[in-house]
């Protein structure tokens, strides 16, 4: 079990800035995130979209904001645990214990939930048979492409992931690419490559259509798709790969005994503490009168919450408010002379 001062749940901009605000106060933190990279919604939903309302930064993309925040917190050498979803939270005397889906354990007097709107999970095919075959012949990501060799694969989706995998897997498998409309969205070279493979007959393209049924529940043999004009077609298929994007699910957070309002956690706007002492919430996931879902609001929220975290983590020390411009202690912590 890893011991620290604050366990931050969520590596989005607010979770990352929390590391900074805690770090300049001399507190140690760990960050846990369900995604495979830091950045949260900024990196997953709009890495290339410009943001215009970060103070003193007239324009930056989600990706730039993330990399600048990572740069800003570098001096604190904080460990970020990715691909880990926090499943369990329970109290142990004055501390909180956090367990992840991969059985990693952390203990700290404080938890900072900066979980956005919950964890990202792939959107799935809503047919019952698809649910039964998930992990056997229905997949929403490719972990090891060896498992997709010499198969008849139906790929669903019209974005980058669907296109990239259609191209890659067509090298050794029979691909049918199925999308609900005629347009695909991808990098120019990907689109032209797809056109080429279509011409050569290496990738079959079916649009505009959607999945109607899976035709065998024990072992997948074929699927039925339905075109917009009502036409039905059966396609020989061993494996389905669905790339319908990610959805955000509140997930286990709802079960931790926190006061919730709709899908958000109620906090005291003085210190962003929840109804549980030592558990804080900041960013999109918290709610209080007048809450705005802005990145800058999240920055403010973690700044205030970090003061309360300090008091709980260092009960015998007095908290002193300091400016980064003038405090020698802070400059030391930042590694500046």
């Amino acid at each position: 079990m890893k011991k620290t001062d604050v366990i931050i749940i969520g590596a989005g901009p607010v979770g990352l800035f929390a590391v900074h605000q805690l770090g300049i106060k001399g507190l140690k933190a760990v960050v846990i995130d369900n995604l495979n990279k830091a950045g949260g919604q900024c990196i997953e939903l709009y890495p290339d979209k410009p943001i215009y309302d970060i103070p003193a930064v007239p324009e930056c993309t989600g990706e730039q904001l993330t990399s600048r925040l990572l740069e800003q917190i570098k001096p604190f050498k904080t460990e970020i645990f990715l691909n880990e979803r926090v499943d369990e939270v329970y109290q142990e005397k004055e501390n909180w214990v956090v367990k992840t889906n991969n059985k990693k354990e952390f203990i700290a007097p404080n938890i900072m939930i900066a979980g956005g709107v919950g964890s990202f999970e792939p959107r799935k095919i809503s047919l019952k048979e698809a649910e039964k075959l998930e992990g056997k012949s229905v997949f929403y990501s490719v972990k090891n492409k060896e498992n997709f060799k010499n198969k008849k694969i139906a790929i669903f989706g019209g974005g980058d992931s669907a296109l990239d995998w259609a191209l890659e897997l067509s090298k050794f498998s029979k691909i049918t690419l199925i999308h609900r409309r005629n347009e695909f969205r991808g990098a120019q070279h990907t689109l032209s490559e797809l056109k080429k493979l279509k011409k050569e007959g290496k990738v079959l393209i079916k649009t505009p259509c959607q999945i109607e049924s899976l035709d065998n529940t024990k072992e997948l043999k074929s699927i039925t798709i339905k075109f917009d004009d009502g036409k039905i077609e059966k396609i020989q298929t061993d494996v389905i790969l669905g790339f319908f994007g990610l959805i955000m699910k509140l997930g286990p957070i709802a079960k931790w005994g926190l006061n919730m309002y709709k899908k958000t956690i109620e906090v005291n706007p003085e210190n962003f503490e929840t109804n549980k002492k030592g558990i804080f919430a900041a960013g999109d996931i918290c709610s209080y009168p007048g809450k705005l879902r802005l990145i800058l609001s999240g920055f403010h929220e973690v700044a205030l919450a970090s003061v309360e975290c300090f008091k709980r983590a260092r009960p015998n020390e007095k908290y002193r408010f300091e400016f980064t411009t003038s405090s020698k202690t802070i400059k030391d912590r930042l590694g500046k002379k």
Binding site: Q41, L45, Y46, V117, R123, S126, G157, G158, G159, H179, R180, R181, E183, R185, Q210, D228, F244, G245, L246, I247, M248, K249, K263, D284, R293
Partner: protein
Amino acid sequence: MPKITYKDYQGTSKTIEVESGLSVMEGAIQKEIPGIDADCGGSMACATCHVYVNDKWIDKIPKAEEAEIDMIDMAFEPKKNSRLSCQIIVNEELDGLEVMTPAKQT
């Protein structure tokens, strides 16, 4: 004030007044109409305010931008008349607009 009707997938409908200038999504959230989640808060970054626009109305609403259409790909069971309700801004001309909410958003 324009009246907007939200019909759920089972046919139950609710009609509310939505101030001009607000989106169909914001109107629904303010009056706690079920069936519209709006996880991202209207930044066109999720597809959980997805609605089907009544055929009579679909051409009276400004067409969806490319980014909205891309995002609708990520919605639950998109159809030809699918829109993101955060992108439909209410005005007097949309008085009487009817949208259907899908069986679920996620």
